[in-house]
């Protein structure tokens, strides 16, 4: 199976007036059309944006929480996102991701399903972690949810559920945990994510 998600958009090489009726299409033209569509698919999905912390959010505690220790006045509880999932990946799943920039920090993403009967269900959350305590870096993680989980009461025959998300963080154990910026979003798709059917 050959599927490609290019890193940038390239318009299909199919040119206006290139073909007349009864013409077949060059392979390269078809391929470019498929890849252009794959690119658009990869960049679709719901996004909750996130925040920029300037100065950065800091936390000394090694237990998950939302309160910061630095000069940043905005703690993590100021942010609460919501979404409807938009974009299926392969295996009939939907994938939420966290992307952040910092160091020495674990960020836990909490995912809440708001059911149509007024109840809520805490779905499995996930943790994104920086790789070390010294250098700043971008870090990310994602979690795939089966389709049914994203419908009210976990039933695809019900309404698509509103999903709420919020984050907590902890220090990895030494030094200061730092978070400059983050976003919660449906994953940016890669070729392996493309739905095959």
């Amino acid at each position: 199976m050959s599927k490609t998600v290019p890193l940038t958009f390239s318009a299909s090489s199919v040119q206006p007036q290139e073909y007349q009726a009864f013409d077949d299409v060059e392979v390269s033209d078809w391929t470019s059309l498929l890849q252009a569509q794959n690119f658009l698919w990869s960049r679709s999905g719901a996004r909750c944006n996130g925040r920029v912390f300037n100065p950065p959010f800091q936390r000394n505690n090694t237990v998950y929480g939302q309160t910061g220790d630095g000069s940043q006045p905005y703690d993590l509880q100021v942010w609460y996102g919501s979404l409807h999932v938009q974009r299926r990946i392969d295996s009939n799943q939907y994938e939420l991701a966290f992307t952040g920039y910092g160091r020495n920090i674990d960020v836990r993403v909490n995912v809440i399903r708001f059911n149509s009967d007024g109840t809520t269900t805490a779905l499995t959350g996930f943790v994104a972690s920086t790789s070390n305590s010294v250098d700043y870096e971008w870090f990310t993680n994602s979690f795939a949810y089966s389709e049914a989980l994203l419908y009210s009461s976990g039933n695809v025959n019900s309404d698509l559920a509103t999903i709420g998300v919020f984050i907590e963080a902890r220090n990895q154990g030494s030094g200061t945990a730092v978070l400059f910026q983050f976003a919660v979003h449906e994953t940016i798709g890669v070729a392996a994510d493309l739905p095959a059917a």
Binding site: T8, S10, V25, P55, G81
Partner: protein, 587 residues
């Protein structure tokens, strides 16, 4: 019912979903020309085009809140008004096929009276206004609930747009509280002027702390006034904007500011419901047919038409790439703990509108985390802002220099200050400088750097990736922030400024962050954009979009005798903005 059928609007993604096609499967034979493409493949490509045309994207408005628990509404600043007032004012981009928005998110509605009342939501999309009820949520289970359990209830639609670039359409979201029952014993007598009440209102408070239960029964911001007297007439209602704590606990100011007489009349305090929002998401709705304009007949086994069909599918795909994408709406609010906005310290709740005063230097009013999805994109912001100049408070003007502090009773029966014309609140001009920057944090940063502005920041590659930023000067009318103003916004600003100088009371307007319809005339639209030449490798990391604002030295005030003319008393506030991406080039 199941809604994940082929055309079902409520399936995630909007249609049947995207199905990737193997680039070597049944299309080519490895040579220069394909075998005739099967109608099945052409149908699949068309299905993918339709999926993409449906706009499987959404963004989220995340007002500053103070609690992540779904079972508690503590600390989340409410919207409440017995007249319609705004939650969000946004200009969003349109293109071919745009047919509206789907809204959703999480909300809480409750009240301090019977706690049975819901609220009303009005969504104004261009020329259309559509209404929804927001039921009271304090009925068991979590406090916060989905705004629209049935997603289709959140659809607000217009006639589809036919232009590829359809400009921007106003998306204004308003709320209206419902009556939640009378406050026991809280009858008052209203008299005096038309914009304040000097009477026997029970001791009231602004629930400024985020730590307690949301809004005690005494919280004035969740109450309103209703006449019980025939003069001016029974049932007339006023919102309460402010009370003058510290000078006279009984004085409040009201809206609308009627052209009422000085006659006294009786009124009753009533509770009103209040609304709290957490995430509020916005998803564009598109009519797919006008974008992927391929008649079904073209896909029904006419194999030899594949060339012309491919041309049309390619054109539709490129059109989708060029379609503007809404990335972000704001503002989300700022805390008085934030050094940039600490002027009103002591208020735990977020202020909804970031502002810069004329003497503050450069203040960052927008700083957002967004993904970009096109090479060399244009980042376009539509900012809605209001500029004000503060007047000398009337009483303060009268007693200026005496060292005395005045009761609000001193206002009673006094005329408006000279040179004030409520019909024409504009009083001068000021030029404000906006600087737009877009940057991306470097993945190879120096250790130990604690602030953003140092070497942790590498700007996006390219000429315009704006080390210097995009600078734009905007001349705006200065409106008089005055107690006497008819526009709520101008009165809000007057209250908030009233303690500086003169009043030493608690300067806060309960309805800060809400506009009334009559305020819209004060709003200036400021488009600003940056073309990110050189942003040629789209990343899976969000960029930072930032707008700094400061007062240019160029300003003039028409009645300097009546105004506080120091730049300190000039203000620029953002009451709404959107960030969009335009992809105008493809490589």
């Amino acid at each position: 019912m199941a809604k994940n059928n082929y055309r079902g609007k409520d399936a995630p993604g909007g249609t049947s979903g995207f199905v990737a096609i193997d680039e070597t499967d049944g299309i080519g034979d490895g040579g220069s020309y394909s075998q005739p493409v099967s109608s099945g493949k052409q149908n699949r490509i068309q299905g993918n085009t339709m999926y993409l045309a449906a706009g499987p994207v959404c963004t989220c408005f995340t007002p500053v809140v103070n609690n992540s628990s779904v079972t508690a509404a503590t600390g989340d600043r409410p919207w409440a008004s017995i007249e319609w007032s705004s939650v969000g004012l946004w200009l969003i981009p349109m293109s071919r096929g745009f047919a509206g928005v789907r809204l959703g998110g999480i909300y809480n509605v409750m009240g301090n009276g019977t706690n049975l009342a819901g609220a009303r939501l009005k969504v104004q999309l261009g020329p259309t206004s559509q209404f929804r009820d927001l039921p009271n949520t304090d009925n068991g289970g979590p406090q916060y609930k989905s705004i629209f359990p049935n997603p289709e209830d959140g659809d607000f639609t217009i006639e589809p747009i036919t232009d590829d670039n359809g400009g921007f359409i106003p998306l204004f979201i308003w709320i209206q509280s419902r009556d939640d029952g009378p406050r026991s014993g809280a009858t008052v007598e209203i008299f005096g002027r038309n914009w304040y009440v000097e009477s026997r209102i029970p001791t009231t408070v602004f629930d400024n702390s985020t730590s307690g239960n949301p809004f005690s029964a005494d919280s004035m911001e969740t109450q309103y006034l209703r006449t019980t007297d025939a003069t001016p007439f029974i049932g007339k209602r006023w919102d309460i904007l402010h009370n003058v704590n510290g000078i006279n606990n009984e004085a409040v100011t009201i809206y609308p500011a009627d052209a009422a007489s000085n006659d006294a009349f009786d009124a009753q305090m009533y509770y009103q419901s209040f609304v709290q929002f957490r995430g509020l998401f916005i998803k564009p709705i598109y009519q797919t047919r006008s974008i992927a304009d391929l008649p079904q007949s073209a896909l029904e086994g006419q194999l030899s038409f594949s060339g012309p069909i491919a041309q049309r599918q390619a054109r539709a795909t490129t059109r989708l790439f060029k379609r503007p994408r809404l990335l972000k709406v704001g503002p989300e609010g700022v805390l008085s703990l934030d050094a940039n906005f600490e002027r009103y310290s002591g208020v735990d709740y977020a202020y909804r509108w970031p502002f810069v005063d004329g003497d503050s230097g450069t203040i960052t009013l927008i700083e957002d985390s967004v993904f970009l999805d096109a090479q060399d994109p244009i980042i376009h912001l539509e900012i809605l802002a209001i500029a004000t100049a503060h007047r000398q408070p009337l009483v303060n003007a009268l007693i200026e220099g005496t060292g005395l502090k005045a009761s609000w009773s001193a206002f009673q029966g006094l005329p408006f200050q000279a040179n004030y014309d409520p019909e024409n609140p504009g009083t001068g001009k000021a030029t404000w400088t906006l600087e737009l920057k877009v940057d991306l944090l470097d993945d190879v940063a120096s250790p130990g750097v604690a602030t953003w502005e140092n070497s942790t920041t590498n700007l996006v590659e390219g000429a315009n990736a704006p080390d210097e930023g995009i600078i734009q000067d905007v001349e705006m009318t200065l409106y008089s922030a005055a107690f006497e103003a008819r526009e709520v916004y101008l009165r809000q600003q007057a209250f908030m400024e009233a303690n500086d100088p003169g009043f030493t009371d608690y300067a806060f307007s309960y309805k800060e962050g809400q506009l009334w319809a009559s305020d819209l005339g004060l709003v200036t639209r400021i488009p600003i954009e940056a073309k990110l030449d050189g942003f040629d490798e789209i990343t899976d990391r969000p960029v930072r979009v930032r707008v700094d604002v400061n007062l240019n030295t160029d300003f003039s005030i028409q009645y300097p005798s009546a105004h506080l003319t120091d730049p300190e008393f000039l203000r620029f506030a953002i009451v709404g903005y959107t960030i969009s991406q335009f992809a105008v080039e493809e490589k």
